[in-house]
Symmetry: C2
């Protein structure tokens, strides 16, 4: 979180073409982004943008994963969410970013001028709706995370997190983030996250194939914790 190899690099840049309504896929915001965007690579733990910086761009994860976070004066950090391939992040109403974003691991990100998108939205109601939809979806995610931080004990937090990571249906989870990231997301310490995982394993609720590879053995048991 503190070390930043600072190795952001432009991987490729598509021609800055004029986008017209007749283009295929133009009615989807993400479709428009593909046409207008620039791809940039970020190394592990490199900052993509910081709190307070001008919000010049909108971002979409192409590969790897990204964390959004709020940094506190004393150095601690609250991760507000993780973003995986296909997800959009860094969307701001305001002219400046109210949180920062960092690459969880080596990541490629598609970058689009924010003003271009907002301009499109002013003319195309469909784009405007998608802009709203993305913000509303993010709001929902964040709201869903508040009871985790405000009400739950460590076991419930970790269980909720694992169930969320395994929501695709597959029981084998490959965590892209470190224990520190998880701790900062769940409002716990690395030690507590680690201990709780071990505890869930001895409860036979999960299996720790390796520190990043986790198998959900008993989803019902994990869900039951929140009762």
């Amino acid at each position: 979180m503190l070390m930043r190899p600072a190795t952001a690099a432009v991987a490729s840049q598509s021609p800055r073409c004029q986008v017209s309504k007749s283009e295929l896929d133009i009615n989807t915001l993400v479709g428009s982004m593909e046409l207008m965007g620039t791809r940039i690579s970020y190394g592990r733990n490199v900052e993509i943008f910081g709190e307070g910086e001008p919000a010049e761009y909108l971002y979409k994860v192409v590969s790897g994963s990204v964390r959004s976070c709020k940094l506190l004066d004393d150095g601690r950090c609250q991760v507000t969410g993780f973003h995986i391939a296909g997800e959009v992040f860094g969307l701001e109403l305001d002219e400046e970013h109210h949180f920062s974003a960092e690459a969880v691991n080596d990541a490629v990100v598609l970058v689009v001028k924010r003003r271009a998108i907002i301009g499109l939205a002013a003319r195309d109601a469909d784009i405007a709706r998608q802009l709203w939809a993305m913000t509303a979806r993010e709001l929902q995610r964040v709201q869903d995370h508040m009871p985790v931080l405000g009400c739950m004990n460590a076991k419930q937090r970790v269980a909720t997190f694992l169930l969320h990571m395994g929501s695709s249906g597959r029981n084998e989870i490959e965590l892209p983030m470190s224990r520190q990231d998880i701790a900062d997301y769940l409002g716990l310490t690395i030690e507590t996250v680690s201990r709780t995982m071990t505890q869930l394993e001895s409860d036979a609720a999960i299996h720790l194939a390796s520190s990043r590879r986790i198998v959900l053995r008993n989803r019902a048991a994990l869900t039951r914790l929140n009762a």
Copy 2:
């Protein structure tokens, strides 16, 4: 939170007039709401809408105050935010509510059909932008609250809350909500909130004129806690 006198009452209903672009103030969403809405009164602790219910309406506080919250299976509740006169709440992308709203004290609320607003937004880019702006502002508020829940100790949480309540500049704060509401918002217990307030008073940071009337004596000291 559990007792609900269930005394919601329609206070007045304005004629359901057809709204046209030529109307005064029509380009502001809140202006449109005034024209299209119905006023409803809710008694203290009465539920305005519940999680899972169809999101048929959009709400604006006329007087009193309202809390949005997420209820957990075990009965505990995480208050995600308070809404005072003039603020809009209950805005959902989805067809159903993902959180519930309750009157903190006797409140009058302006209620507008959600589909009517969304319909307006589809035709008027300005309305669409305001819909987005309201959602983005709410997202920002919720994101700002996450480090409070995830990183701060009791003293920092209460101090942050009081500074926020006193952000208008006046040092005399009249709290509309109970200690239980504050506790559910800050992820603490009533006892801890109470104790912490007492502690802040003996630190000469605040003065407790009564349980609901608080005077900020030393804003700098409250701010300093977060260092």
